[in-house]
């Protein structure tokens, strides 16, 4: 496995908050990652530490095999697009892009010009006066045109409408296809990005709770609908992560894969199987965990309706 980032036992503690709790993971070269989790789960903290904008309390971070802290060679190969990026007071988008061009060695001006046009970004207005969406567009353009070997997008779409977001996704995909690189995309709009990402990294309560290929993640859970008693019998021994009922019918989401014979058995007793979208799965998994607990709740015994 060819990792560009290695994180070992990373912990970050703010005064009374444990933002990252002994986190260990690798990021593989030239893949698009979905870095997913609820607000405050620790995504931004993790990305800040990876780009040396913040410092760990303990643990180790290696980017391209080196400590990124005050490391110009490593840092110049990365680009971190923050949701709430601050710009100099009287800077315009033109200034911001010209500055980015100075510091990112693989900067592509043609791509930047193209994107400016597509996002209809007013180059000469001061950034203070831009709309929220235009502000996001500045970050998105810097992130794409920098072509950094590792690019972090932290909720880059705030204020962007559906059309502009689609533009971002399309441009990301086509540019990535031509110039493969590592991308970490943090997003709440999981359904929107589910097909773009090759791997999912889910963080919850400062811990990594999922780190696998999107393909495997999608196949992880199944939803079954049918007569409540029949469902209960059929699911005996399986790990249930969500349960809803309407009269005698219940709809239950459970973990684990089914082979063809098992599917047939479910169908034979009149149970309907339905796939679980990545968004549903992650919502279910992160709902389960109550704040302050760091293990999965024993959902299979108690259900999750509490």
């Amino acid at each position: 496995m060819d990792s560009v980032i290695e994180v070992r036992h990373l912990t970050k503690r703010y005064k009374d908050v444990l933002a990252l709790d002994d986190v260990t993971f690798d990021i593989q070269r030239d893949a698009i990652y979905g870095f997913l989790g609820r607000n405050g789960a620790g995504k931004t903290t993790a990305m800040s530490i990876l780009t040396a904008q913040n410092l760990p309390t303990s643990g180790q971070v290696r980017v391209f095999g080196e400590d990124p802290y005050e490391n110009a060679v490593v840092l110049s190969r990365m680009c971190f697009v923050r949701e709430s990026q601050k710009y100099p007071d009287d800077a315009t988008p033109r200034h911001a892009l010209a500055s980015a061009r100075l510091f990112f060695p693989r900067w592509d001006q043609d791509l930047a010009d193209d994107l400016v046009e597509e996002f209809q970004l007013p180059l000469k207005r001061t950034i203070k006066k831009l709309s929220r969406g235009q502000l996001s567009a500045v970050g998105v353009i810097i992130g794409l045109a920098s072509r950094a070997e590792i690019t972090f997008f932290d909720e880059p779409y705030l204020g962007l409408d559906a059309v502009a977001r689609q533009t971002f996704y399309d441009r990301l995909l086509t540019d990535y296809a031509e110039h493969p690189r590592t991308v970490l995309l943090s997003s709440h709009l999981i359904d929107e990005v589910a097909n773009l990402i090759e791997r999912v990294l889910v963080i919850d309560g400062g811990r990594i709770i999922m780190d696998e290929s999107t393909e495997d993640a999608r196949a992880q859970a199944t939803n079954v609908v049918g007569d409540a008693a029949t469902v209960e019998t059929a699911l005996r021994g399986r790990e249930v992560i969500h349960r809803e009922s309407l009269g005698r019918v219940s709809s239950v989401t459970f973990l684990g894969r089914l082979d063809d014979a098992e599917r047939a058995a479910f169908a034979a007793v009149g149970l309907d199987l339905a796939p679980v979208s990545l968004q549903q799965l992650i919502v279910r998994l992160t709902q389960q965990r109550t704040p302050g607990r760091d293990t999965l709740a024993p959902a299979s015994q108690e259900g999750t309706l509490r």
């Binding site: 110049s76 100099p88 800077a91």
Partner: protein
Amino acid sequence: MTTLESGSIMRPAAARNRTRNVVRLQFVNTQTFLWVPALVLAGAWVLTILIYWMLEGAGVSGVKTGGGSQAPLWYFLVVGIQAMTLTFPFSQALSLTRREFYLGSLAAAAVSGLGMSLLFTFLGLIEQSTGGYGMNGYFAYLEWVWERGPLAAGLTYFVLTMLFFILGFWSATIYKRYGTAVLTIVLIGIGLALVGLVALVTWRQAWPEVGQWILETGSLGLTLWAILVSALLAIGSYLTLRRMPA
């Protein structure tokens, strides 16, 4: 694309360019680094000259000096604060190290400060040769500062701008890293230390010696001392910035 191929491995020259490019980055704020200081200087100069002119009209013919020329120097405190608060977060988005950002910012301040001190020296030379615009009024030419010639005077102005810049930069760093309370405590602490020093000198009845020392050291000597103080402050400022989260 060729730019893509050359990008992966960074040569040392490129690393030096990054620090140099921070100067260009800071000058994106042309308002902060260029126009406002120029405006402050011009404004202070115009006001001072007007006042001298009125005094002259009122028949005051003695040597006239004023504190107006301090204004642009004080403004460098603001430049220091803005270089930190406005540009540091953006520098992080551009994947700069703190060291590159700091050295580049100092260089940017030096460029601006150099311009300012050249203007001052130039004004001083004019005042020297025209006898204070023909009305014995001096804005930049202060005899005590100029006693070792225009070069020394220019150096004094330059060192002062840098001193103010670093002070502003450091206080902004402390503020951003530790918050208002700590900054206030630090400022009060410095105030107390100065008062303590004054008390000590008074108690030891050493004012004549202190006055003597200042006179003997002269403006150039004091400037050299100011360089030492600035250097110490600059190091302290860097140490504060070095481990600051963005």
